[in-house]
């Protein structure tokens, strides 16, 4: 019993020390360095354009879990929902030659990609679903990417306690063939709990990157002036890593 409490005491000391160190700037820059190292390693060993594994219909999860915000409690959103999102607009703005406002019909008119992929939550669980939508690269081609653009920012209709959700990725992920603007899950229009009517699929990263209730895509040269400057809602407010490939 005594040895156990000694062990618990050592562990608790370590835990308290680490909690303190974890809040320092030096540790945070170490984390950013490790994160960049992971991203570099993934891209280096996978060759020029590694593809996320794709699965078969037999692998589909029985249902697809909704997590984070699973509805939007506003009259505006409910009006869109009643109308089948017929008037929903996806704005493509920022460092583009031609800013666009695309309707769901226009997105459906683009070449479509269907992929059965695994969604990995940062918490540890996974679900497999079949997603359909136009490739983001084709949407961006329509708008024309300016040379200064380095990141794609995804704007959303949902918020947590009044703080807007958003996400971002670099152009390597934005132009990746599996990065699609999904409007369909398992052959049905995207359910509200999964981000109706549009959500991003960024298949080589964790679930929080896959922005739901998508209203706009903005190309930027730097993430610093966007919201809290860390590249996403969770990155700004909770400290999740911007590169979520780990």
């Amino acid at each position: 019993m005594q040895r156990r409490s000694v062990l618990a005491g050592i562990a608790a000391g370590l835990t308290a020390g680490c909690s303190k160190i974890g809040q320092t700037d030096a540790f945070q820059s170490l984390v950013d360095g490790a994160d960049r190292l992971h991203r570099g390693a993934h891209r280096l060993i996978g060759g020029p354009r590694p593809m996320a594994p794709e699965f078969t219909l037999a692998d589909l999860s029985t249902v697809f879990r909704g997590n984070g915000n699973t509805e939007i409690d506003s009259d505006e959103y409910r009006t869109h929902q009643t109308a089948g999102f017929a008037d929903w607009q996806l704005a493509v703005t920022g460092l583009v030659e031609r800013p666009l406002g695309l309707s769901l019909a226009q997105l459906h008119a683009l070449p479509q990609r269907t992929q059965i992929t695994r969604h990995d939550c940062v918490e540890g669980w996974s679900a497999i679903g079949e997603w359909t939508g136009p490739q983001l690269s084709n949407v961006l081609k329509l708008a024309g990417v300016k040379p200064a653009a380095r990141f794609a920012v995804f704007h959303c209709a949902d918020d947590f306690n009044g703080i807007r959700y958003y996400e971002s990725c670099d152009l390597d992920d934005a132009m990746h063939p599996q990065t699609i603007v999904a409007h369909t899950l398992n052959g049905e229009p995207l359910p509200v709990k999964n981000g109706a009517p549009l959500r991003m699929r960024i298949e080589r990263q964790l679930g929080y990157k896959h922005a739901k209730f998508l209203t706009g895509i903005e190309l930027v040269a730097s993430l610093a002036p966007v919201f809290g400057g860390q590249g996403g809602y969770w990155e700004d407010n909770v400290g999740y890593q911007w590169y979520a490939g780990v």
């Binding site: 308290a16 680490c18 695994r118 940062v122 540890g124 080589r204």
Partner: protein
């Protein structure tokens, strides 16, 4: 020659720190979704093959539930752990540690020899007649070096969506991401078991001498 080469000693302590940090931050991560599944997917707690209990703050890094901070510790020390292990493996190959001290000899596998070793251990008789380590020690170190530590690394990689794109065969090896996650969890507890056994045996058998030798390397030519 000293009892422990410099490479062995340096790695031993770097590895001890990184394994403790990774284990305790891993328990914090486990608290985010304390259910384990087999196969490619899993998120319905009722279908988990096991539910894990919630680990208390004194056992986790940081000492309160914080998934973002725990992941920070985990991904930083993943590099320390992996790079130092690789460096140790290379140095142990080059200086002959693996061949001389860890590799077993055919005669050590005779049932009578194993039985004699078990009996000596039960009597707490740790005087070895030949070589640095006896059969059970070689088994324990071999299991850790060549089974548990590599399992930790490769199941950890298989859980990373970025790695799965780069090396999709990892998923085939372990039977899916959720299986890899379950194996990761069990291997971590396997290493914890080794840690308890290892520290316990050092404590009951000349703890100060053992500790000193793992720091200074011990006297020259301690093993002929």
């Amino acid at each position: 020659m000293k009892r422990h080469a410099f490479g062995t000693r340096a790695w031993h302590w770097i590895n001890a720190v990184s394994l403790i940090v990774m284990f305790m931050s891993g328990l914090n991560i486990s608290n985010a979704h304390p259910h384990l599944y087999w196969g490619k997917w899993g998120f319905i707690p009722g279908r988990a093959w096991t539910d894990v209990f919630e680990f208390p703050g004194w056992a986790t890094i940081p000492g309160y539930y914080d998934l973002a901070a725990a992941r920070d510790w985990h991904v930083v020390f993943a590099w320390v752990f992996a790079v130092s292990l690789l460096a140790f493996m290379i140095s142990a190959l080059v200086n002959g540690h693996l061949r001389r001290d860890i590799a077993t000899k055919r005669r050590e596998w005779r049932p009578a020899a194993i039985w004699a070793d078990v009996r000596a251990h039960l009597r707490f008789d740790f005087e070895h007649h030949e070589g640095k380590y006896n059969f059970l020690q070689k088994m324990a170190y071999g299991l850790v070096l060549f089974v548990l530590l590599p399992l930790m690394i490769f199941t950890g990689m298989a859980m990373s969506p970025g790695m799965d794109a780069a090396w999709p065969f990892l998923l085939d090896v372990f039977g899916g991401r959720q299986s890899a996650r379950s194996i990761h969890f069990m291997s971590a507890w396997g290493l914890f078991g080794f840690f308890i056994l290892h520290v316990g045996l050092v404590l009951i058998n000349k703890p100060l001498k053992n500790l000193r030798e793992m720091i200074t390397g011990g006297p020259r030519d301690a093993t002929a």
